[in-house]
């Protein structure tokens, strides 16, 4: 298996990186390009950009952000939020993203997964799953569905998803550790890689989840201090998880 990956996630609204616990209390934390470079220099293995406004008007702004990021970033990055068609995915990928992430649109139109995979390959399609107690939620975790999590994960992989981004809604933002049982159950059921998300609060939490899965999404743990990423990597390595060696740029 390739090395475990640490993936900072940046929420983007109207072309800026924001943070906030709800959509009404967003705080501007900076320019996506500058922050991307900062995380990359700190040893991020990959980045995820999530357009949390995901409005049709916002789509052009996001494409522009993707172009600017692609021009300076030499690590892979995934873009999610508001992608509802193969054409939407194609605009984002042609702007320079390596992969797109789809969530509610995949629930509404599962054929979208196959459509994007047929055009760009499975490695370009991440399906994000927001998991509740046993069932999947749509619309950013706000709408319950009657779709059970593990069978949905199996279905998206069969339809061509190249990776699953699995978020535990209960753990998200709490910094109390990942949902290891959920992560294990999904990963055992599929043969594509799984990124665990929701709950990273310490190096120990990240190391624990990286023992059972391929990658960990980290958000609030680094957002408060992006320059803490190299230190976090060292702590995780000290706990016995091998990460890629990060070389200084010459």
């Amino acid at each position: 298996m390739p090395l475990a990956r640490l993936i900072p996630c940046l929420d983007v609204a109207r072309g800026r990186v924001v943070k906030g616990v709800s959509f009404v209390n967003l705080r501007d934390v900076g320019d996506p390009v500058e922050l991307a470079q900062h995380y990359s220099a700190g040893g991020a293995d990959e980045l995820v950009f999530l357009d949390i406004t995901a409005t049709p008007e916002g789509a052009d702004t996001m494409v522009h952000v993707v172009e600017r990021v692609a021009d300076v970033l030499e690590i892979p990055f995934t873009v999610g939020g508001g992608i509802r068609s193969v054409e939407d995915a194609s605009r984002i990928i042609e702007a320079g993203a390596d992969r797109v992430s789809i969530n509610s649109a995949a629930l509404a139109t599962p054929d979208l997964i196959t459509g994007i995979a047929a055009r760009f390959g499975s490695q370009a399609v991440v399906v994000a799953i927001d998991a509740g107690e046993s069932h999947v939620f749509s619309h950013g975790g706000r709408v319950a569905t009657d779709i059970a999590t593990v069978p949905w994960a199996v279905e998206v992989a069969a339809r061509g998803a190249g990776e699953i981004l699995l978020t535990s809604i209960a753990r998200d933002g709490r910094r109390s550790g990942f949902d290891l049982a959920l992560t294990q159950a999904v990963r055992d059921a599929v043969d594509v890689p799984v990124i665990a998300s929701g709950g990273a609060g310490s190096a120990q939490h990240v190391a624990d989840v990286l023992r059972i899965t391929d990658a960990a999404l980290i958000a609030s743990i680094v957002h408060e201090n992006p320059s803490g990423l190299p230190g976090l990597r060292r702590e995780i390595e000290a706990l016995g998880i091998e990460l890629r060696p990060v070389k200084e740029r010459v």
Partner: protein, 184 residues
């Protein structure tokens, strides 16, 4: 110093390769023009899209023949990911696709614990850690580097192909890319 030609085969993302070259201080153009492919000091066959549509596009534009002539003339070509796979004889992808046939070997569906194989892995004997994202892999007697026992690079004559993405492999990738280009 002439522009690096990134061969256009009608698939999405060539922006990252261009950005990496810019970072290295090299100008580049995305083109399928046989004359440019023939004249450039450096030619990169990038790695995006599907094998069938890529080959069809290369044959239709005359880029395929230009690449074969360039190879016969012993002029350098760097293939990345799909661009490396296209240089072999054939691929199992898309129900079977004939490649450029510059090198011996076939491209087969990856037999790995998780497919696609995504992430950073050590390439031996070169020693760098690079980013991979693939569901197919080369089986070739021209293999010159491996990663987890899988083919990571092939070389024959003036063609060097890598399965990983140097343009997405941070400092190690830029260093590798710089080493593949003709000197300033």
């Amino acid at each position: 110093m002439s522009d690096v030609i990134i061969v256009d085969y009608g698939a999405g993302n060539t922006r990252s390769v261009r950005a990496a070259l810019t970072h290295l201080g090299r100008r580049s153009q995305v083109s399928a023009d046989p004359a440019l492919i023939s004249a450039a000091s450096d030619v990169i066959l990038p790695g995006v899209g599907s094998a069938r549509s890529a080959m069809a596009h290369l044959e239709d534009t005359g880029a395929a023949d230009a690449l074969r002539r360039r190879f016969a003339a012993n002029r350098p070509i760097l293939g990345i990911c799909l661009g490396m796979q296209l240089a072999l004889q054939a691929s199992e992808e898309d129900g079977g696709v004939k490649g450029l046939g510059l090198l011996e070997g076939l491209v087969v569906r990856l037999d790995a614990p998780r497919v696609p194989r995504l992430g950073w892995a050590l390439v031996e004997p070169w020693g760098g850690t690079f980013y991979f994202a693939h569901s197919f892999v080369a089986e070739s007697p021209d293999t010159v580097a491996t990663s987890e026992s899988l083919c990571a690079a092939v070389q024959h004559g003036s063609f060097l192909g890598v399965q990983f993405h140097p343009e997405k492999s941070d400092a190690a990738g830029l260093e590798f890319l710089a080493s593949c280009l003709s000197p300033d």
